[in-house]
């Protein structure tokens, strides 16, 4: 297993890659592949950063260039933003503060692409953690699945769930120690009733966007996620109460297949009152 941490996009990307062939040659091959991916991530950062004045997004925001004058990746991201805005009933909004802020999509998209690049290069067993957004593929070894801890939003040194996933994406949106920084685009106010939302899905972009959107939905987040095919969600509200979609526990270590023991205390299925 090869591990690398790369500071990029205002956070740290961590890579765990199983080198299939073993030995030095294989590590060199992984290293070369990783070098290309890391360089690409820095390119994405430079292109999409809303902080860097000369980024394409910066120039687009100031009206100095049109979308067609930007690189094709910019149109791809803008299309994703539009699509997610419609899908989430406006809860995901890259234009919520008046100007374009696509970074909510860019990181997940970059993680998904990086995972695909590794798989195409023959390294199908890997885990990429981009600032807490995680994309796993294959196995860390011994045929077991990847184990992913979800930090408890109200007790940062504990997990509120431990997942077991061999192929898929895990995204968590939350208030955590930075305070209430997710703004509800529908009323412009900070989200205060939800502490954290974790979404599991096949794809990092959607899991990430759905987690962000669910953050602003409050009590209807779990029923909304329940209706999205192929995705599962886990929501902790500000009082520490956890709700989850019906299939979430299938990916949960120690809970899966342990129906007789019942769910942990203080965890509850969707109650009738929270249904829309």
């Amino acid at each position: 297993m090869l591990h690398h941490d790369e500071p990029v996009m205002g956070t740290v990307f961590s890579f765990d890659i199983v080198s299939n062939l073993g030995g030095e040659v294989s590590d060199r091959t992984v290293g070369r592949q990783l070098g290309g991916i890391v360089a690409w991530l820095h390119w994405v950062d430079a292109t999409f950063s809303t902080y860097k004045e000369n980024s394409e997004i910066g120039r687009l925001r100031r009206g100095e260039v049109s979308v067609t004058q930007c690189c094709p990746e910019v149109s791809e991201i803008l299309e994703l933003c539009t699509q997610l805005h419609a899908q989430s009933g406006g809860c995901f909004d890259a234009w919520s503060d008046g100007s374009l802020e696509p970074s909510g999509v860019v990181k997940g998209w970059a993680i998904e692409r990086a995972s695909l690049m590794l798989t195409e290069a023959g390294f199908g067993n890997h885990c990429i953690n981009g600032g807490g957004d995680i994309r796993v593929s294959g196995s860390p070894g011994g045929g077991s699945a990847w184990h992913i801890g979800i930090t408890h939003p109200l007790a940062l040194d504990s997990y509120c769930a431990v997942l077991e996933i061999s192929d898929g994406a895990v995204a968590t949106s939350g208030t955590y120690e930075r305070g209430f920084h997710v703004i509800n685009p529908r009323n412009g106010r900070p989200v205060t009733d939800t502490a954290a939302v974790t979404v599991i899905g096949p794809d990092m972009v959607l899991a990430d966007a759905y987690a962000t959107a669910a953050m602003v939905m409050g009590p209807v987040a779990v029923p909304w996620l329940e209706g999205i095919c192929g995705h599962e969600g886990f929501v902790v509200d500000a009082s520490g109460r956890a709700t989850r979609t019906s299939g979430f526990d299938r990916n949960r270590l120690g809970v899966r297949g342990d129906a007789e023991a019942g769910p942990p205390l203080a965890l509850c299925a969707i109650s009738d009152e929270s249904r829309p």
């Binding site: 070098g35 970074s103 990181k107 796993v136 930090t151 939003p153 940062l156 990430d208 942990p264």
Partner: protein, 169 residues
């Protein structure tokens, strides 16, 4: 308001790139998180992987093109741990220690984390019922990565930067 912050992050990125970046696992979930500055996404989060992960053997990776590199101007002594300043953040103070081995960051840890916000206490008591069972289940399990993180804070970045400055001195 965000620009100075980014300058800090960029400085750290530069320093980290300069020193090479290699982290070994260990410690508790939140305590081995390595997060520099604010996340770009609206989601908070940002730990790096591995908690007590016995299966993860850190390997030196020859990464070709990393962040913007600066030629090293100061020789970095080998095998030393440098501690950053104690920086206040929302729930208390945070202090970051960086261990440098052979010019690379071998480990980043958080020796100092004091809760001083009274809200932390009430938060902790709320969290207990949810977590007891799952935390017990997580014991002895290798966690490969952590979602929904911790020290994405500016405080972490500032303390890390001062630790790296101490290392370069």
């Amino acid at each position: 308001m965000r620009r100075p912050l980014i300058a800090i992050v960029a400085t750290i990125a530069g320093l980290v790139a300069l020193l090479g970046f290699k982290s070994s696992g260990g410690l508790k979930a939140s305590h081995q998180s390595v997060s520099l500055g604010p996340t770009a996404a609206p989601s908070s989060t940002s730990p790096t992987s591995t908690s007590g992960s016995a299966t993860t053997v850190p390997t030196t990776v020859p990464v070709a093109a990393a962040a913007p590199t600066t030629p090293p101007t100061t020789a970095v002594p080998a095998n030393q741990t440098y501690t950053g300043n104690d920086i206040p953040f929302r729930f208390g103070d945070i202090q970051v220690a960086v261990t440098i081995k052979g010019g690379q960051i071998a480990n980043i840890s958080i020796p100092q984390e004091n809760s001083r916000d009274p809200r932390s206490a009430s938060i902790d008591s709320q969290a207990v019922p949810i977590l007891t069972q799952e935390a017990l289940q997580a014991q002895g399990v290798n966690i490969n990565a952590v979602s929904g993180a911790t020290y994405t804070s500016d405080a972490f970045a500032q303390s890390l930067q001062s630790a790296l400055s101490n290392a370069g001195r």
